[in-house]
Amino acid sequence: MPSIRRRLTVRLLATVLVLFIASSLLLYTYVRARLTREYDATLAARARAVASLIQFDPKDGLEYGATDQDLAEYRPDENPIFFQVWRDDGTTIARSPSLENHAFTFTPVYYQTVQALTLPNGRSGRVLWLQTLPRVEEENRTAAAGKVPPITLAIAQEPRELNSTLQVLASALAIAALLLSAGAALVVTLTVRRSLAPLDRLARQADSIGPDSLDYQFPLSDLPAELRPIASRLNALLDRLREAFTRERRFTADVAHELRTPVAELRSLAEVALKWPDDADHLANYREILGTARQMEALITRLLSIARCDAGKQSIKRQTFDLCDIIRESWKSHEKIPLTLTHTIAWDIPSTAPIQSDRAMVLAMIDNLLSNAVTYTPPLGKIRVSISNKPTGVHLSITNSCHDISPHDLPHLLEPFWRKDPSRSSRDHCGLGLTLVAAYAKSLDLNFKIDLPEPHTFLASVQFPPTPIPAPTDTNAQNLPLPAC
């Protein structure tokens, strides 16, 4: 696509020129019509003057009585005037001396008409045809009443002055067009350049922005009103881009750390074993290597699951099952954690809570939520798991005490690899649990939320849509102590 400046310049120039040419043509046409009309009026006046030389006498008929003075201007000269007068039957009554051996062809006309024609001297001219009555003397008018025959008269001349005037006008308009074109080109180019300067400046500023200068902000005060919304949008876009870059860099750095450290462990364990084979505790080494491999496997499996969900390629097998069973099944793996003994755990779950979803994915979500609750609840803290059956569906909420999560941290909790502890020391969690839960919830069309409903209390909730199977209402809910589950 051509540049805006070029398009504006070309279009403005073309518009100015077209308008000028059109107005020039209009002016020229108007002037020519006006001058031609005046010229024709002059011809008509001459024709009437010639017609007045023809007299009708009831006794003698039509008589032509022109003196030398009358014919002075009809003699052959540089720009002669020609005329010829006919009776109604086409016989010539009179003709100008300028016609010499030539003659006009008789053409009957009704009243008056003007034509262009080639004059007897070979020049282009205009001829006025006029049908009129001859002059009748006052004393003969009564006798001639009803007997006066019409005469036809042709008078012609080359409109030399008219043509000359029109030629001067056309030349003046053409020269004006040329001057206007040059002037318009200069003015339009300068005006367009000056008008588009803010746009050029904006483009240069945008061009200078790279991945390392995303903190740049377009200055709004220097811009015209039309560009301010664009610059504002660009600033907002840069903000989002900067956040995305920061997230991406953090993600890359976190992935690097999460993978580099276990790879370094594997490599150094293997190198020590190879370098000092006699001293190595092979069994312990194998255990350490297996532990690192499992840690990496869990990390990669979670990353792949999140990537599949993000790409919409996570396979989902929907079936109807009991959410309470899932809670019980998941808790079996967490209740063995010694840390759990320092927590108070409250269960508020009904006898059954049927949902329709992917069982394995929901189990993984519950595993992660319970694992987080158990891991991050401080000693003597509280965990509460509750399920409620409502007409809108099954609502699961897991709350736990927490000391170190602030409202400012909430938006980051779902980011991959985000950890409150910048040292990322814990090997049990890598910061993907909540990200995976959110990704699974999105794939399963579940409403997953995290919140801090009150200070030092973290809430994770999942809303499951209603199932076709009727579910018991909350009034049937009962507190189930864990051993009874």
């Binding site: 690097a256 750390h257 580099r260 150094s268 040292s423 020391s425």
Partner: protein, 221 residues
């Protein structure tokens, strides 16, 4: 040579610690930045191998505080942070070297060895004492091309005395550079080690290479 390893990964603590000890270093290990700072300021280490992302106190803050306290111990940053900015930040914070995880164990040992050499202003990887040639990388000592049979502690003592050649080295200095915090050297362990070393390196005739300065320490001629 005594090295402090501050690393929060227990597996790396184990493997790197073993590799350093096998290479003749006395090694103290810490998995926490605050404890690492305490150890680094309380003891005289030849080299500190320091992770950056640490619980308690991060490696760069540890390094800054160490330098503020006037400690010029050579520090090797061993970290997963691999960008140029990370390296520049680490080196400008006062580190002497930077190694990115995962790393080759031999490279780590070579860098630690080079930093340890620098602590004593030595550039030649081989140290020559008369007709004795000491190779710290191979942990061997030869006299006229023939290997001298030295136990690891004896080699460490010879190496340390060779690096401090010409200056009197106190018993405490020998203990702090040859034995780590886990070792509990007996009161006469240095004297015994010096006695055994003299028997192995002294020429058949003439004065001993290691001179005893009563009440002060030892001097390698």
């Amino acid at each position: 040579m005594r090295v402090l390893l501050v690393e929060d990964s227990p597996r790396l603590q184990n493997s790197v610690g073993v590799a350093l000890r096998k290479s003749g270093y006395a090694v103290d290990v810490s998995g926490d930045g605050s404890e690492g700072l305490y150890l680094a300021t309380s003891n005289d280490y030849d080299v500190i191998v320091l992770d950056i992302m640490l619980p308690g106190l991060d490696g760069l803050s540890l390094l800054a505080r160490l330098r503020q306290k006037g400690k010029s111990t050579h520090v090797l940053l061993l970290t997963a942070k691999d960008t140029v900015e990370d390296r520049v930040t680490g080196l400008r914070a006062g580190a002497d070297d930077y190694l990115v995880k995962p790393f080759a164990l031999d490279e780590l040992l070579a860098r630690v060895e080079a930093l340890a050499r620098r602590s004593y202003g030595v550039k030649d990887p081989l140290i020559r004492i008369g007709d004795i040639e000491i190779d710290p990388a191979q942990r061997t000592a030869r006299r006229e091309g023939i290997a001298i049979d030295l136990r690891p502690q004896e080699f460490s003592l010879l190496h340390y005395l060779a690096l401090r050649r010409g200056t009197v080295v106190t018993r405490n200095e020998i203990e702090s550079h040859i034995y780590d915090e886990l070792a509990e050297p007996m009161s006469n362990v240095v004297e015994s080690a010096v006695y055994r070393l003299r028997k192995k390196i002294d020429p058949p005739s003439g004065p001993s290479l290691i001179e005893t300065r009563r009440g002060v320490g030892y001097l390698l001629r």
